[in-house]
Point group: C2
Chain length 381, copies 2
Amino acid sequence: MRVLILGGDGYLGWPTAMHLCAEGHEVAVVDNYLRRRLCREEDVDPLYEVPNLHERVRLWKANTGHEIRLFIGDLTEWDVVETVFRAFEPEGIVHYAEQPAAPYSMLNRRAAVLTIRNNLLTTANVIFAVREFCPGAHIVKLGTMGEYGTPNIDIEEGWLDVEHKGRKERFLYPRQAGSLYHTTKIMDTDLLWFYVRTWGLRVTDLMQGPVYGIFTRETLEDERLLPFFNYDELFGTVLNRFVVQAVAGYPLTVYGKGGQTRGYLNIIDTLNCVRLSLENTPEVGSLRIFNQFTETFTVMELAEKVREAGKEIGLDVAIQHIDNPRKELEEHYYNPTHTGLLELGLEPHFLTVDVLVLMLEFVKRHEERIDEGKIFRRVSW
Amino acid sequence: MRVLILGGDGYLGWPTAMHLCAEGHEVAVVDNYLRRRLCREEDVDPLYEVPNLHERVRLWKANTGHEIRLFIGDLTEWDVVETVFRAFEPEGIVHYAEQPAAPYSMLNRRAAVLTIRNNLLTTANVIFAVREFCPGAHIVKLGTMGEYGTPNIDIEEGWLDVEHKGRKERFLYPRQAGSLYHTTKIMDTDLLWFYVRTWGLRVTDLMQGPVYGIFTRETLEDERLLPFFNYDELFGTVLNRFVVQAVAGYPLTVYGKGGQTRGYLNIIDTLNCVRLSLENTPEVGSLRIFNQFTETFTVMELAEKVREAGKEIGLDVAIQHIDNPRKELEEHYYNPTHTGLLELGLEPHFLTVDVLVLMLEFVKRHEERIDEGKIFRRVSW
């Protein structure tokens, strides 16, 4: 399948490109280096240097013989979108091209407006491009479990059957998120669902939990192909950040009571979820929604797992509760369904102590690059 | 109260400004003439000429002695927002500053992107301006009944209590709209609801049905103060358009079966709803939602009412069913609650034959300005 990956330079975008290419798909990537620019502006470099996208594509070709097509450009600009879609004629589109960080979106007005503008105008352009250049192509959109928030009832897989005063209706599961970033993902879902109903688009919206991990099959032989690994409060997801804090001897910063529960998954599972979604195309005119995670943990459970893994390699990991800088429930009901991707054949990679030990050992090799001052920025909302 | 009206040049914005001023409030208006520009670009002039906003403000002052402060500028630009909010220090904000037409939003990509950009970036700027310059000020936002769509269960007033597998939660009533324009209003609600929860904003979101009418108390003595009156398919609301079609001898164009039911209200009631909302401020940290309409009608019922009123003044009005150019249900369940504004004291002006006769007679005086070629543009979705 010809698969176009929007945001192909990102933490998930680049590993997805290599994985789909290795699995025999014809792959192109687009990126405007937004993530790199924002990290530079906010002075939060990843743990190790990552070659630019041209270099990554060259390395991949040298190692495997496979070609990944590359476009550099901003997908909020229609001429970029038109050039890419005309040139590549995708059959599947993986849409990662969004400002991806909740704390960044809460930093200030400029960051908020950038997030709204980038995420919504890109999604709108993708919808119009599919309609104009490749109707019938399958859009795989990365949403987030955070769209649902933490309701007091079970979280179903995208939809909710409501019985009310003796009548019935099926709705998009009601969404209420905990950050502006997550709210733009709700808006993306609103937009996609409208055009699915109106124009018969073919969309899979993946409600993904926080991802952790570094290694994927395609990076085992060449570490220069590894994804970004941010350990700062702005762009680092919680478990990746805890691993770096453990190595640095910086106490694991648990916000409030630490009872915040989320669904997590290994980066390897993300790639498989996206590939399984692409290889099992939904019908034209349907919005298919999967809840994309493999296990749920509280923040305290994550911290304790990291402490346990640290002990295995002689690290004495401290856990520190700090005042919660966010507006969120610190203890709550959380019972989300997640059967759709398992039914498509997903074989989860669970969060074992071994997995954490491998991450800790890898981070330890880059210990000299850790700048403790970058870990915690005190972004609050 | 110092009330800032965003979109103060519009069909509802200008009458609201005069009404609140006449009721003793200190009023300022902001507009960038977006609506006028779009009408000019699409070649759909209103039925009669309307003085520019500077002239309207001068006329109002000459007639009443009251001053309305005026700012011209684009509220998607932060420097405009900052200037206005710093200069006027509003206590209440009425936010009408949106691209207001569903058919326009479905015209093409440019119109769609303009609608998303204008509506969301303006709402975001308003939120940030309130937080920065007048925390505690009350935002009265014009939403639309169209956010709810036409679900098969009763439409409650903004919120839905759900019982699911033995547990309970109260959600924003699930929304699924019938046009891109309506979808941007859903996104506005998403955005406001997030910042209400996070920053304790004070917001009233008015889910308004289609408005009809021309006259308000403040325009009775000087027709130069009348609002825009569009009769084209892009910017003319259905009943206003039918009245013009009746006068022009152009058959009333009912889409499909005409069983599409919506909640309607007279423009006089809109002004009272907005005023009552302002004068009864909700608590800090709350999103108050009212369903703002007074009666529900099917499109066929509206057409028949216009025919009946036409007969009173000797017009022979034809009704023509045409293929529905929109994706919508032509027959459906529709039972929306609307008690909140009545409880605040709204005294509805219902749609009587007399009301329609007055509208028909007024439009007849402008008959020579009707251009039949502008009525129907065949925008389809």
